[in-house]
Symmetry: C2
Subunit: 665 residues, 2 copies
């Protein structure tokens, strides 16, 4: 699943401080991401748990969130400018003893400089992947004599370079034979680097998939199985034979005749931005824009996390974040049927193991894109949005994940998926029903991206409820409160929508409980055959009671997971969720049936959900926005720049329509 360290997001955004060997006196905010010193101190304390020669392979060192109930008084005091005692500062540490399958999960109390717990986890539990492991597996594969012998049978053209593409071995729990064990396994697929651009690591090797694949064990670090891949219409496999070099399908710009008729479009805040950013602690930022206020944290699994979201001083959400995403693929044949990536759980949006920046063995560098995003659409009153966006690159895929806040008290969450399909070889001329031939000999299988957004509400304060609102005959609205935790489905054909309400706070205009409604686009097909592991993908909505440690919809550990540890299991507790401290989990997705246009690089697929106030405010809260004027906006008529003015046909004031250019990913 991962390719080269250069393509891997590999570190928390920490400032590498000088190494301290003693317990530190923390003055950090309870919600602030760990500092470099805190990470070093955590690793030091954990290493002391074992003999000094133990080779500890850290997988994650990240903030252990304080308990919501305990933190509430602290945050309330903070809002009125008072200090109150802060809870103990703790870190969560995940590590292997290297070259073993011994995975440990520890809680370090940084306030007391002590290890509170350090537990070895049971079988079927594996940690997230990391870039150094991926590189090692690909090297083992390509150095293996059996693999080299198979590659030789392909009689590749001179200068051809085979490269590996490693996926976590998805557990299917059935017919696994000798592999139905507890080992941590990776499956490595092989591709050929475009011979014309053999020195270009960014080239599109996905246009040349090879037919052998290898399974590696992460304890012995060796190949334990070689698969020949099915390239026909059924399960039949063949021995490697001469590889047919197909026409190239390259995306790198060196291989294109680039068009030259695009002129720059600039977005400028000449007087600075209208939002303010300040540090609420060393590693955390507080952001405000007009009536919006919230804190931004950052961790290994989720990346960007928001805390304590308020509008006009009124509480809305405690900790919204995107903790999980599943990407099942559709080919039912071994070993393709195990291709289900959890890009956050198996890898991490905040990525990667913190120890890598602290003098350990990992050479990765952060490879984020550096986006500057602005939208400008203009109407009589401008709707301007504050966008908080994160871009993550997970091997062949790239995601843009953004919270968008507008002046009307609305929050949108937008996910963009782009990048390169993860294809496999297919014989020429044939078709299969679970994929599309996107290039000669290249099959892109149908797949889904199922996102799970965790909405941790505090609409008008604590104790919320969730109501469904089906719209029946005559447009009347019937509200059905959800009383116990469980999985629920929006029914799109009857406009069944969802509202989070606070019954104890009423809107003075119409006496209705203050609420936010969630509009969710259609989730991906719930008949996923990866259903069991993707513990959230079967319902649009899960509602559970709030529990501090239950943060990740797919469970804490998704790598080779067998289910039973995620939101579906928690919902089965049948806890009360009526007028209580609850969490709403919203699933939404992209159902991707590949097209030839999706290759070699796919255009962006965008999916967006919204959280909108419903009788929360007494009136439109954006009324105090100044009207838009030409002197303020500085819009330029096309005619002034070489185009032709389509407006002003009768006189200078008449503008019937306009042609504009817009730019977004």
């Amino acid at each position: 699943m991962l390719r080269t360290p250069e393509q891997i997001i590999s570190s928390l955004p920490l400032v590498v401080g000088e190494k301290k060997s003693k317990a530190i006196q923390t003055t950090q905010h309870p919600l602030g991401p760990l500092t470099a010193s805190e990470i070093l101190e955590s690793s030091r304390l954990i290493k002391q748990e074992w003999p000094s020669i133990t080779d500890v392979n850290f997988k994650a060192i990240t903030l252990r969130d304080p308990k919501k109930a305990g933190l509430a008084p602290y945050l309330e005091a903070e809002r009125i400018g008072q200090k109150s005692s802060s809870p103990a500062r703790k870190s969560f540490v995940l590590c292997y003893l290297r070259k073993t399958d011994k995975l440990h999960e520890a809680i370090v109390n940084l306030s007391t400089s002590s290890v509170e717990s350090n537990l070895r986890l049971g079988q079927f539990v594996h940690s997230n992947s990391d870039g150094s492991e991926i590189i090692e597996i690909e090297e083992i594969c390509l150095d293996d004599e059996r693999v080299q012998a198979d590659i030789a049978k392909l009689k590749l053209p001179e200068g051809a370079v085979a490269i590996g593409d490693t996926w976590i071995d998805g557990s299917d729990g059935v017919n696994e034979g000798e592999f139905s064990d507890t080992r941590r396994l990776y499956q490595c697929f092989l591709y050929l680097r475009d011979p014309n651009y053999a020195g270009e690591s960014d080239n599109n090797h996905y246009a040349m998939p090879l037919t052998t694949s290898h399974v590696n064990d992460c304890k012995e670090w060796k190949i334990i199985r070689i698969d020949f891949l099915s390239t026909g219409i059924d399960n039949t496999t063949k021995e490697p034979s001469k590889y047919k070099v197909q026409p190239l399908n390259e995306y790198i710009s060196e291989a294109q005749t680039l068009c030259t008729d695009v002129k720059p479009l600039k977005v400028i805040h000449l007087e600075g931005a209208s939002f303010r950013v300040s540090n609420f602690c060393e590693q955390g930022q507080a952001i405000s824009r007009q009536k919006w206020e919230f804190k931004v944290g950052f961790n290994q699994r989720e990346g960007m996390v928001l805390y304590d979201v308020h509008y006009a001083g009124r509480p809305l959400f405690y900790r919204p974040s995107l903790p999980d995403m599943a990407i099942p693929n559709a080919d039912p044949r071994h070993p393709f049927h195990k291709k289900q990536a959890f890009d956050l759980g198996d890898f991490g949006a905040g990525i990667m193991a913190n120890n890598l920046q602290l003098g350990c063995d990992y050479p990765g560098s952060i490879h984020y894109l550096s986006p500057v995003l602005s939208n400008d659409k203009r109407a009589s009153v401008r709707n301007r949005e504050l966008v908080l966006q994160s871009i993550i690159t997970v091997s062949n895929y790239e995601y843009i994940l953004a919270f968008q806040f507008n002046q009307a008290g609305e929050i949108m969450y937008e996910a963009h998926a782009t990048g390169i399909l993860s294809p496999q070889p297919i014989d020429e001329v044939i078709e299969v029903p679970w994929g599309t031939v996107v290039h000669p000999g290249v099959l892109a299988t149908h797949h889904q991206h199922i996102f799970s957004l965790r909405v941790d509400p505090m609409i008008g304060g604590s104790n919320n409820r969730v109501d469904f609102n089906p719209h029946g005959i005559g447009y009347t609205v019937k509200e059905t409160p959800i009383t116990t935790s469980g999985g629920y489905d929006l029914i799109y054909d009857v406009n069944r929508t969802l509202k989070i309400q606070n019954k104890s706070v009423k809107n003075p205009i119409n006496d209705k409980p203050v609420a936010y409604k969630i509009h969710v686009p259609k989730a991906a097909n719930k008949d996923s055959f990866h259903f069991r592991r993707a513990e959230f993908a079967d319902h649009n909505i899960y509602v559970t009671s709030h529990q501090d440690k239950k943060l990740y919809a797919g469970g804490k550990y998704t790598n080779q997971s067998r289910g039973g540890t995620g939101v579906r299991s928690w919902a089965e507790r049948k806890d009360n969720v009526l007028d209580d401290n609850l969490v709403v989990w919203v699933q939404f997705g992209i159902n991707h049936v590949p097209r030839s246009e999706d290759f070699p690089v796919m255009p962006c697929e965008i999916v967006k959900l919204s959280l909108k106030p419903v009788n929360f405010f007494e009136k439109n809260p954006a009324l105090d926005e100044p009207h838009s004027t030409q002197s303020f906006d500085g819009s330029v008529l096309l005619s002034a720049h070489g185009g032709e003015d389509l407006a002003a046909k009768i006189d200078g004031k008449v503008k019937v329509y306009c042609v504009k250019e817009t730019s977004k990913l």
Copy 2:
């Protein structure tokens, strides 16, 4: 439904030329909107049909589109730079003989300077509304002694001004008693102008609805009925009594304390735009941007119409346009149950009667907003869009209607609805299930906006087919071709989608027919009780064979229509639509359950559908786009402008997320 002439879109974008009295030698392009001379010539020829003393009230003079089959060779020749003979140039003229119910529909042949047909239309057929009529009705109401007596009973505060708000009288065909006739009727509702801003015509009178309403006949031009409106929980009505002045709820900026913390955001093309606009005739523009090419026409009913859309020289769509929109309201009580506006059919997006600019009796002025829209989001390769947008104001509502074209050969159609709710009075304290109290004494009823987009495809050339693609178990895709015309539904819960294909043109990569797929957001509830008149609202999709005169989903005349003349009726022909010249009609909508936040001005509701190539191109057609660079885009880090740089925590290259501001309506 309409209020004051200042708020009404009132004219085609024509250049008023000098009056010519003779037949003109037309050299216009067959698809060009009528010129001023052509409009004058049409009206002159029609007036000659009657005795010179006849007072002709023109309702529309607009282009009669040439037949598609006849025009195809002309457009093909044009694409290769050749001239071929053009079809006769014709206009469509709609007019009443003033102060009668005699509505006539005429076809004028401008090439021969003759009237080809001039037919009086039958009962139940009424023309679109226009601003002068609306003003006249409101004046009649307010001048009527009975109305003044009723208003006097309200004991309004000194300086209060009552104003009218006129709706077309929707036909329900049942229990109409004495009104089950063929008369053309309008219903006028009354509101009070905010006494604090009595001189401000833009103020929010919708916060003060009055309880009497009047029905006017457009032949006699008099009030034929006075209604007292139900303001309780049932049908009970009361005589007018003292009006309770509620707290104000004003949206005009004079009534707000405006925020001052918003700084300007500018979007600039320093080197000019990347698209080209040229006139293909006097009133029509051809637009090209990179591989996109199309013509833009404009007419009374639809406003902006696209013709002959090509990408990379390949034909895609012949004539996409938005011909209809229905807005049923939910209150089941008389007379509210008749409130169903057809903002295009009853009024016209291209609006209003052309004669108004030609020296006739209407003082309206075009009141379009003058938008300059640009989006800029940035990623490794920029996705820039060409947006062709039209804004229409229909009394209390404002719509932004936009075609968006990107480099990947995709077309999006986006509709925004904003403006002011059309509310009614309600007694204090009570609730009703078909609406929301948005202000004391003000009820906003649930309603829908059901749009109908007409997709006139020529995917890869003529003779297309439409396939449904439900996604079943195991993600396989099953295609089911539609063979006969009819109404069809997307089934969102099984991801049933739609593809327009051309079986005779195959993609060389995978031998699949070239296609475009349509992704449609959930349409509004089809259980509309205005179902019969909104001849398109009951299915997401209608597929019909192409007929040149069948352009408008709701039928040519929606005013007081009783159904039977729109796309549902045409679909019942059960014509062949398999591999034939077909039209796809796509319905999508907004289901609006009002919130207190929607008053006094509602935040924008946005709905968007897309038309994306599926195996139409051999690969992603945007590959030749140059990569995005900082020198080209000129993005500015926040730190340079008074904010704080969130990036660069480890070194200058590390950017984990960014905060940006975006602006759109």
